[in-house]
């Protein structure tokens, strides 16, 4: 019993903090609520510390419902980093919109717990509970500015499509349970590999699960919610939503595709390749025509999902450890650079009359040299230009795809990454090479938290680009140890 609880100490810490925040929030005067964010960050730091102490443990808990291993640890650490940066980005923005409430931090922490549970579960029931915890928290977060029409619209859209997606996943899982009789990943996988399951039902289950995950991570043709949700949500929430649920979705997708459906790769590789190509195509071309930066980043994140799916399809091949490790690294790099890019938008809208339009960027290089400078770093990283994390991630991912014998697919990926370079560059063009029609009005709201969050993301992006070894090794070790390659 004690052993079981050991595995979820980080989650328990976050849940306890979330509840404490909810309890003391009404007791605080309005300007006393600032401290709640620090409480959340502190909880994440403690959870991170306990994760660090658990890093060499490897066991399953709660009757094989969850497993603690390097793979889970890697993702838990990533989710905590995401949560910390997201909370740091939020405070000032919420205060300026008069929505600085404790609920916000509780929801972020609960969503993080949901992601952790999703990743560590090795049982489809537990997984689904985690998924819903994350999803419900993020629906509310999307609508957190409830006096803002767009925010409410975002929340509703996210909720409706998300509910559909959950249903698909659930139906797929039910079918898997129906044909195999197990809820444990390993056992389902073994039964399927043994070949005693009806093929057509299995195919339907695979399609449903892929469709459900497609919704969650924002792959084409299940992507339509993403631009509206990212545009409408409060910017720090969009930052969080664009990386957290995606990372969790891919963490589970890797497990699903290898542990449960590894033996059936012939069935799904083609499907995933097709989705990956269409996703890159739609993401890259639609991002070209966006004039709103949050929508542009939404389509850009769809394009990035396309690259990640390339690696998922490569993980159907024999040398899968490599492909999955590249996804893990990519997710870490992507999290930092996307949080950073959204973070700069938060910074600009806090400090000026910035309205998230591309045109508002004109002349920013002069007016806000620091913000423009680090936005440049994030854009170059998103475009995959060295020496940034985005470059190494893309390099490693293409390497995995080439290694799996899919060099032509890597070429397709490279082609779309050329297209995508154009819209990332355009941000830089506007900031440094265009004259503004009228300068932004400054309001000069300084925030230490925000600067710290941006600084962390920027340093992380450069550090991962220049010295990727520690994270790379962690990702590879995690897979070698867990998935038994």
């Amino acid at each position: 019993m004690q052993h079981d609880l050991l595995a979820i100490i980080p989650e328990l810490m976050l849940i306890a903090t979330a509840l404490v925040i909810l309890l003391i929030d009404p007791l605080l005067p309005p300007d006393g609520r600032r401290g709640l964010g620090y409480l959340g960050v502190f909880a994440c730091a403690m959870a991170g510390l306990s994760t660090w102490f658990l890093r060499n443990e490897e066991f399953t808990a709660f009757n094989d419902a969850i497993s603690l291993d390097r793979y889970t640890i890697y993702f838990k650490a990533l989710f905590l980093v995401i949560a910390v940066i997201a909370m740091l980005l939020s405070e000032k923005h919420l205060e300026l919109h008069r929505r600085l409430l404790g609920d916000y931090y509780s929801l972020i922490l609960l969503a993080t717990v949901g992601m952790m549970v999703m990743t560590e579960s090795i049982d489809i029931m537990t997984f689904f509970v985690g998924l819903e915890l994350m999803a419900l928290a993020s629906y509310i977060l999307a609508g957190f500015f409830r006096y803002d029409e767009l925010s409410v619209e975002a929340s509703l859209k996210y909720f409706l499509t998300g509910a559909f997606a959950s249903t698909f996943v659930l139906f797929g899982l039910a079918l898997l349970y129906g044909i195999t009789g197990y809820t444990n990943y390993q056992q389902i996988g073994e039964t399927i590999a043994a070949g005693n399951v009806p093929g057509s039902t299995l195919v339907i289950a695979i399609i449903l699960v892929i469709a459900g995950f497609g919704f969650k991570v924002g792959a084409v043709p299940f992507h339509n919610w993403a631009p509206d949700v990212y545009q409408g949500s409060p910017t720090p929430v969009a930052a969080f939503l664009s990386v957290g649920p995606k990372a969790a979705g891919f963490a589970v997708l890797i497990k699903f595709m290898t542990v449960i459906l590894g033996s059936e790769s012939g069935t799904w590789v083609g499907l995933i390749i097709a989705i990956a190509i269409v996703t890159m195509l739609v993401g890259a071309t639609m991002a070209l025509v966006q004039r709103d930066l949050k929508r542009m980043l939404a389509y850009s994140s769809i394009a990035h999902v396309g690259y990640l799916l390339l690696a998922i399809s490569a993980s159907g091949e024999e040398v899968a450890a490599f492909a999955s490790a590249s996804i893990m690294f990519y997710l870490a790099a992507y999290a930092l650079m996307n949080l950073g890019a959204f973070g700069v938008l938060v910074y600009l809208s806090n400090n000026s009359s910035f309205g998230n339009r591309l045109d508002d960027l004109a002349g920013l290089g002069k007016q806000f040299p620091w913000a423009a400078g680090i936005l440049t770093v994030f854009m170059l990283s998103l475009a995959g230009i060295p020496p940034t994390a985005g470059f190494f991630a893309k390099f490693y991912l293409f390497a995995a795809v080439v290694d799996a014998g899919l060099a032509w697919l890597a070429m397709v990926g490279a082609l779309f990454s050329l297209v995508s370079a154009f819209y990332y560059l355009r941000v830089i063009v506007y900031m440094y090479m265009r004259q503004p029609e009228q300068e932004l009005e400054r309001s000069g709201e300084r925030s230490f938290d925000l600067n710290l969050g941006l600084g962390l993301a920027a340093v992380g992006v450069l550090l991962l680009g220049l010295y990727p070894s520690p994270v790379l090794d962690a990702a590879q070790d995690a897979l070698l140890m867990v998935l038994g390659f």
């Binding site: 024999e318 060295p386 080439v402 490279a414 990454s417 154009f422 830089i428 090479m433």
Partner: protein, 519 residues
Amino acid sequence: MFTYQEQIGFPILTVLIFLPTLGGLLMLLMRGRPRWYKTTAMATTAATFILSLVMLARFDSLSANMQFTEKLTWVERLGISYHLGVDGISVLLILLTTLLSAIVIPASWNYVKERELIFFAMFLFLETGMLGVFCARDLFLFYIFWEVMLIPMYFIIGVWGGPRRIYAAIKFFLFTLAGSLLMLIAIVAIAYIAREGPFSTPVFDMDLLESAVFSSSVQYWAFLAFFIAFAVKVPMWPVHTWLPDAHVEAPMAGSVILAGVLLKVGGYGILRICLPFFPDAAVAYTPYIIILSLIAIIYGAIVSLAQKDLKKLVAYSSVSHMGFVTAGIFAMSVIGIEGAIMVMFSHGLLTGALFLMVGYLYERLHTREIASMGGLAAPFPVMAAFLLFFVLGSLGLPGLSGFVGEFLSLLGVFAYSKVLGAIAATGIILAAAYLLWMFLRVMFLKLRKDEWFELSDFSLREIGTLAPLAALAVWVGVYPNTFLQLIEPPATQLAEKMAPYVAEGSGTLHDIFASLGGF
């Protein structure tokens, strides 16, 4: 573990590469003090140049081996290391880089009005990228430096360029990136093919890759991918279209570095990677590449004849001159390769100088249109003398540097095919035509405006930036051995490596397509 060859007592290549970055970062602390940061920029580039001379002094020019090598494991799991080393070819191009970088700083002393600090810092970061490319002995590192060159140049064109600068900058960036992405995939592919077993680490080390043997279909594909990346940089016809735009819009110093060094990394890459890694494919593609080079030579020259803009004329002449580089390399003889390298070096000196001249003219007249000039020799006699000197050098007058390389390169092509050699030689005649005609229209004929007499002729600063280039041009032209002996061992080694493949005969177009399809 960091190891380096004990040749000079300290890891000189690392210092050489990162000294400019250090200077650039230092400059960023001097916001608002123009005199300070300009002096820092100049001191840094001068120190880098002196350091490269020190390296040259300790360089063993009789050896074809990599020297001053340094190695540090970087990403162990992927077999990536920070591995540097230089041979004669690199040393020559490094000298060119450090010299031109040291010249463009004083040359653009008063050229830009806005955001000067970042302008000068960009050139220092650019220098790091260029030097890194010439020193890298690990393909991953090579690629990093290759891309690091791209960003400062993109900003230099896009921020401080002419009216259509944004178009030119994006075109430059996307053309180069398209090539580099192809190269990236090829790098990954050969690194994984060259490893020992399916689970061992990939091989990015160029020393190891040089001795690896790839199957012919891998060679055909990988050669093509690398070659396209390098051909964009050279630039070869038909992927040269970014060059005129980039040159016309770039500020003077940007053009000098672009023509002087950035085009050379293309030729350098072909010599360093395409030939030694993929000898079979190189031989098979030779006829087509030589024909493309000839088209570049003739087309570049003819288009130059028709230019109205002085800068565009020099830009297209670069396309023509660089044709001699690719033609010489693919002649695959010692003479051809040496010729190609000498053309690169001399083109860096002379075209760099020509772009400086165009810039200085523009600073005075505020136009680059040839038709609006005329009779400038009267108000600017010193400038006319310099221009005549560089024009003569550029058109291949014996006794100046342009002649040496083009002659050797032509000898190489002649040995390959007399007809093609004859066609290539017409490029030199055309060069004389467009350059002399340009000189005539700019400097002689009737003086258009009398108020030009009120403008000053060259200042000491301007003469100081051109004089070293002129002196080197004479040195190379009169006594090329100083430079030839530097590049002879590596050129010979490369030609010897290629000889058996050339003798074996090349694949036909049919073979190429069969292999490409069979991958």
